[in-house]
Symmetry: C2
């Protein structure tokens, strides 16, 4: 922190800019593609995927939040919206405190219908554009950045 006034050099600046543009464009692109064929948003898709991956297609709220790295509040708000569209349903939690979410029929249908196209979109826009080796490098980079963020949780 406070590493005095040593600015990013030109290469670093360029990479950083490119990265930022890629991140925002890519996100927007996938969001639009997902919305077009199926009417789901990316967060919708993430929630439904988490649920369908779980046994009984049902999870405790805090586990969903932990898995997606979402704040409780974000999850609650989003479940409100999804529940209003009949994609998921809140159900009382059998064991102890907390409560569960489960997918509805519509939810399962929506995510099942959307998954292949979404997967294809991820490949077309991202995975297939990058060499296997570079993709692995990117994975390592992401892990390193995440770990570094976790170490310095705040600052």
């Amino acid at each position: 922190m406070a590493r005095s006034t040593r600015w990013l050099d030109e290469d670093q600046e360029a990479s950083w800019r490119s990265y930022r543009q890629m991140a925002s464009r890519l996100e927007a692109h996938l969001a639009r593609s997902l919305a077009r064929d199926g009417g789901l948003s990316v967060p919708d898709f993430d929630v439904l995927t988490a649920l369908t991956d779980a046994p009984e297609r049902r999870l405790c709220l805090k586990d969903v939040a932990a898995g997606l790295l979402w704040s409780p509040s974000r999850l609650s708000h989003h479940l409100d919206r999804m529940q209003a569209r009949d994609l998921v349903r809140r159900v009382p939690c059998p064991e102890g405190r907390g409560s569960d979410v489960e997918t509805t029929e519509r939810g399962v249908a929506a995510v099942t219908a959307a998954a292949p196209a979404h997967d294809a979109a991820v490949r077309d826009a991202f995975v297939d554009v990058i060499s296997r080796k570079d993709l692995a490098t990117l994975g390592r980079i992401a892990e390193a950045v995440l770990e570094n963020l976790a170490d310095a949780p705040d600052a």
Copy 2:
């Protein structure tokens, strides 16, 4: 498109997940850091930077939008908010149609004060975590993905 049912393999899936997590955590981290010391949001910072980089610290709206890859509507909404906080000011455009934005004193002060810490945050959380070589690779990846997105503007 519609590359039938060939799913991402495990490595690809892992890299994709890591990338997504990095992108969202990193964005959140930088946003918080910027907000803490200076009260600016990332979009605020982007707009102010674009303006202070310009001669006369003043630009035509559509040029700002083009430079940041923002929609006109996004820019208009954001300028409303920034103008309400006296960070920028809309001014009539001397030549022909359209209108300009310029920074206020407060705007310049805010971005000047925030820039070093933001730069340091980008280094601490990102640039310095990645080897020079990997950073260059990331830059190339980003360029490739952006170009690929530009080629298939819609789909």
